[in-house]
């Protein structure tokens, strides 16, 4: 198994090893006065066989140390028959010469006697007649148009050019000479080599020299590095996998959201995840027989027992629930729920179902304004788990409280938060929460999902504030932050927020 540990001893990079012939060839390339060098010339220069040179060059190329330029020039060559024609003259030349020697009229027999065999004679007659240089009939005679004997035939000129390697030839005549078997055309492959930039820079150990491998403490201490040369590494070789953990995307997104709140002047607050029913419900004016408090909806824990809060606070909250005046007061805060308050229920432990108890605890502890607090934390509801619902979910609770705090300030805060997450369009509609009145819900328009409910909130009821000793209006809101995070992170399933795939967490997948 590959070791991906960043803290384990580091493996040396793969050494860049060269065979002796490769070193020889590369050195020749590095020292050549002019590059590229033709492969053939290189083979001739080095005391290595052509195959060895060819193989070494190809391997150097694979190691990106040598660069190849390959050309395919055209070469025209004189055939043996062409050589013969060069020596003896072309058949048509020899035929004309024989005609001239015969006094202007040449019989077939005289032509044979002049050294022209049957094939040459036929070819010469055919060529001369096609050019109109030979009159019809026998014996053969020149026409007036025939070339004077002193002038060279075009074929003779071109044949001579080919023989001397002159490429500036009449291609049509070359083709005709090819058809006559006097000239042939070859395509050659010419390989020219030069060192790559890396090849040029590469340090090559000399005969008997030992290059320095890993830079070990021993090498450092010995000072060998002052005089020695370092063995180069193959910087392109595959290396062991190294994990690069990223911050958890969800946790990071939550932190970024916190930064927005902090920028708006909110201080963080926290509370216990296992609460008593008093803090989770009673203090928030949730009737003790509310269906949402039943075992069907709230998660209870076995093996622990809670206790009510201070007797003073308990008495005040009990009075509010029962609709009687709080101790020391003459008028009830409101009509209450009309049922006897049970302190035994208040003491029952329950997993927190919302973050509002955190705010309630805070207000009970510090009832003096101003308040601008947030709590971004886990909560629990007894839900079947699916793509949209989870037992454990994160909520972002906030409270604003000071002289003059109003619903307008809450709406303004919704606007500021939605703008901070890049959503500008918002609308407000009435809502209901047991502990706020008025209660509202902010909807924002998401470019892909349309209108979605994001910001539930309202003004805390007097039944909540008065028992806690708070004397200013307090606005409260609780955002289902998981939903926002899903949108921001492009997720379709709430469960993906609890990411534990190591590849994804390490940025591999």
């Amino acid at each position: 198994m590959p070791d991906a540990s960043p803290t384990d001893a580091s493996d040396p990079a793969a050494s860049l090893s060269l065979s002796a012939p490769e070193r020889t060839v590369l050195r020749a390339l590095q020292t050549a006065p002019r590059t590229p060098v033709e492969e053939e010339a290189l083979a001739n220069e080095l005391s290595l066989g052509p195959d060895q040179v060819r193989g070494s060059l190809q391997r150097l190329r694979a190691k990106r140390l040598a660069l190849l330029e390959e050309a395919h020039p055209i070469a025209r060559l004189i055939t043996p028959r062409g050589q013969l024609a060069l020596q003896r003259g072309l058949p048509e030349r020899r035929f004309l010469e024989a005609l001239d020697r015969a006094g202007g009229a040449l019989t077939p027999d005289a032509a044979a006697a002049a050294g022209l065999d049957e094939e040459e004679r036929s070819a010469a007659i055919g060529i001369l007649r096609r050019r109109g240089w030979l009159a019809d009939g026998v014996p053969f005679r020149r026409t007036p148009a025939a070339l004077p004997a002193t002038e060279r035939l075009p074929e003779e000129v071109v044949l001579g050019q080919v023989a001397t390697g002159d490429d500036d030839v009449d291609e049509a005549i070359v083709s005709a000479l090819e058809r006559r078997g006097l000239v042939r055309t070859e395509r050659r492959s010419v390989k020219r080599w030069s060192p790559s930039e890396e090849g040029r820079r590469l340090v090559i150990e000399s005969e008997g020299e030992t290059l320095i491998g890993p830079l070990t403490p021993a090498v450092l201490a010995s000072g060998a590095w002052r005089t020695g040369r370092f063995r180069p590494y193959d910087v392109r070789a595959a290396v062991p996998f190294r994990a690069a953990p990223h911050p958890n995307p969800y946790a990071q997104w939550l932190e970024e959201f916190e930064e927005i709140l902090i920028g708006l002047g909110f201080e963080q607050a926290e509370g216990p995840l296992l609460e008593t029913e008093f803090w989770n419900n009673d203090v928030l004016f949730m009737p003790q027989d509310h269906p949402a408090r039943s075992l069907h909806d709230a998660l209870s824990v076995v093996g622990v027992s809670g206790r009510p809060p201070s007797p003073e606070l308990l008495a005040r909250v009990a009075a509010v629930h029962e609709g009687v005046p709080m101790p020391g007061e003459t008028e009830p805060v409101g009509p209450g729920w009309g049922t006897p308050y049970d302190p035994g229920i208040a003491a029952r432990p329950v997993l927190r179902s919302q973050t509002t108890p955190v705010s309630a605890r805070l207000l009970a502890l510090h009832p003096t304004p101003p308040f601008r607090r947030y709590s971004l934390d886990r909560n629990f509801r007894r839900e079947e788990v699916d793509a949209r619902h989870g037992i454990e979910f994160t909520q972002c609770e906030g409270i604003l409280g000071a002289d003059g705090t109003s619903l307008r300030e809450l709406i303004g805060m919704f606007g500021a938060l939605s703008e901070a997450i890049g959503i500008r369009e918002m609308k407000i509609r009435p809502s209901y929460f047991p502990f706020t009145e008025p209660s509202i819900e902010g909807y924002v328009r998401h470019p892909r999902l349309g209108w979605i409910e994001i910001f539930p909130g309202g003004m805390l009821r007097p039944e909540v504030l008065r028992p806690l000793g708070v004397e200013v209006p307090v606005a409260a809101w609780g955002i289902g932050i998981g939903r926002l995070a899903m949108i921001a992170l492009g997720l379709n399933d709430l469960r993906e927020l609890f990411e534990d795939d190591l590849d994804r967490l390490q940025g591999v997948a």
Binding site: M1, D3, A4, S5, T7, A243, P245, N248, E258, G263, L264, G265, F266, E270, P272, L273, L274, E275, D289, V301, V302, V304, G306, R307, P309, G338, T339, P349, P370, R372, R378, F380, R382, V385, I391, A402, S406, L407, R408, E409, I411, M413, F414, G415, M426, I428, R429, P430, Y432, E437, P438, M459, P462, P473, F498, D500, L502, D503, L505, Q506
Partner: protein, 563 residues
Amino acid sequence: MPQSVLQRDRVDALLPRALSARELEELLFPTKAELEGQDGDTLAVSVTPDRLDLLSEGGLGLCLQGQLEAARGLPPFPIVDLPDPAIAFDVDPSVAGLRPAIAGFVVASPPDRPLDTGLLEEAVRFQELIHGTVGRDRRAASLGIYPLERLSPPFRYTLEPIEGVRFVPLDGSDEVGGPEFFERHPMAARYGALGRAGASCLTLRDAAGVVLSLPPVLNSREGGEARAGDRWLLVESTGTRERAVRESLGLLSVVFASRGWTVAPVPVRGGSPLEGDGRPVVAPRSIVLPSALLHGLAGVARPADEVTQRLSRARLSAHPHSGGWRVEVPPWRPDLLTAVDVAEDAILAAPLRPEDGIVAPSPTQGRRLAAARFRRRFSIAMLGMGHAQPYTSLLVSDAAVERVPGARPLRLLNPVSAEFSSLRDRLLLSHLEVLRRNTRHSYPQRIGEVGPVVVADPAAESGATTRYHAGALVASDGAGFADAAAIVDALLREVDVVAVREPADLPGTIVGRAARARVAGEAVAELGEIRPETLTALGVPVPVAWAEIDLTALAPLVSVRES
């Protein structure tokens, strides 16, 4: 959110004109009702839990009348005299221990429009919805509707021997005896326990001895079947909670009030918690709304006329009163308890606009808690040490607990599933699960997370404390105790403290290869090598080193550098 399917024609009949789907949706947006869907004949409507009245065609119609400004103020629901002064509920003391509260009213149809099938069906449908909500499935309150003209008042509510009860159930045609009814009838199987005590059951009879109903189970056919053409109806509610009884009656009254019926309270006699002339059940209540409260909540002072208009549009009746308004609220608005509730109606009667919001300068300096900043340092440090950062749930599975013998997390009394059944007391329980889910990936694997755990604590108010741990696992060829110790040492160096290790037997670890680390004598960390049985069960093929620091314990022991 409570929801119901309403008959569209019954809503339309209350409106000055037919509404398109879009108009209906827009009109409902600033209310607490929402149109969930519709077809030609029906409307699927949901409401917030405080506005159940909007789940009746009558209640929704009244609301839409206000939105359309077709009608304003409190709908007329005149209180008239009872047609027979003998009408009353006589409550026998025997009901006190079982279902003591009873109240009711009589409603009379307009002369030219007696009860029709549509109204009766609407009332019965809404009655069932009330049973399921305010009535807490009839435990707190249940309603009954009776044909008054065929009954002989007064009506006696009592607990009597089941043996002596004989009646024709509303859904049957044959007379049955009480024992047979309670033994066989499906409604008795469902609600019988709420209306019987031993060999006795609750009955509501008229003066002639006719059984009206066996509260809260079922009406009788003879005395409890209202029909089209009836002009006078008796409506009652029995229950264990007075408030639920009052609220259920008030809510149901909207069905009749919206159709121009009149109402007469029915006196209750003989020791019921709701004993009296019955008037509070049906009469509008009066709530004083101080202008300072309204303007303070709204954040804007509105002219008195405008407030009156807004309340009128919300189908309430408002009159100037010293320093505010006296607001009359109808019986079908039990959500209006105090002045703040009425203030909400005044504020929300006109649409709220985002541009009305204000962002006041912050009087406070925003910041994280010192404890959170402290925890964050460990999170960053572990990330820097190459630990991948999962985000794991506090709730762990039965399997996660079982694979760490000795772990004793708190268990849920009522888990939804075995997958989320316990509250972890150490991150190890979650982190081993992470390793199990990643066995297909290469090793080494390093994970690290700062997260909450919950541990029993008799001194804590809820019996348990939420603590924050920094937990790390290293799974690799050659991982061992030294790795765990090195992690603890490195993390503690983050806060300039040094821990002393001592041998410890810790859940899930190899005996002799686990330790507890202390700072200034306080246990702050646990660490060790995970036992091979656990690794084999997880399918992890390499050794695993574990370290977990209790940051809640550590924080008070160090002088925190502000990060």
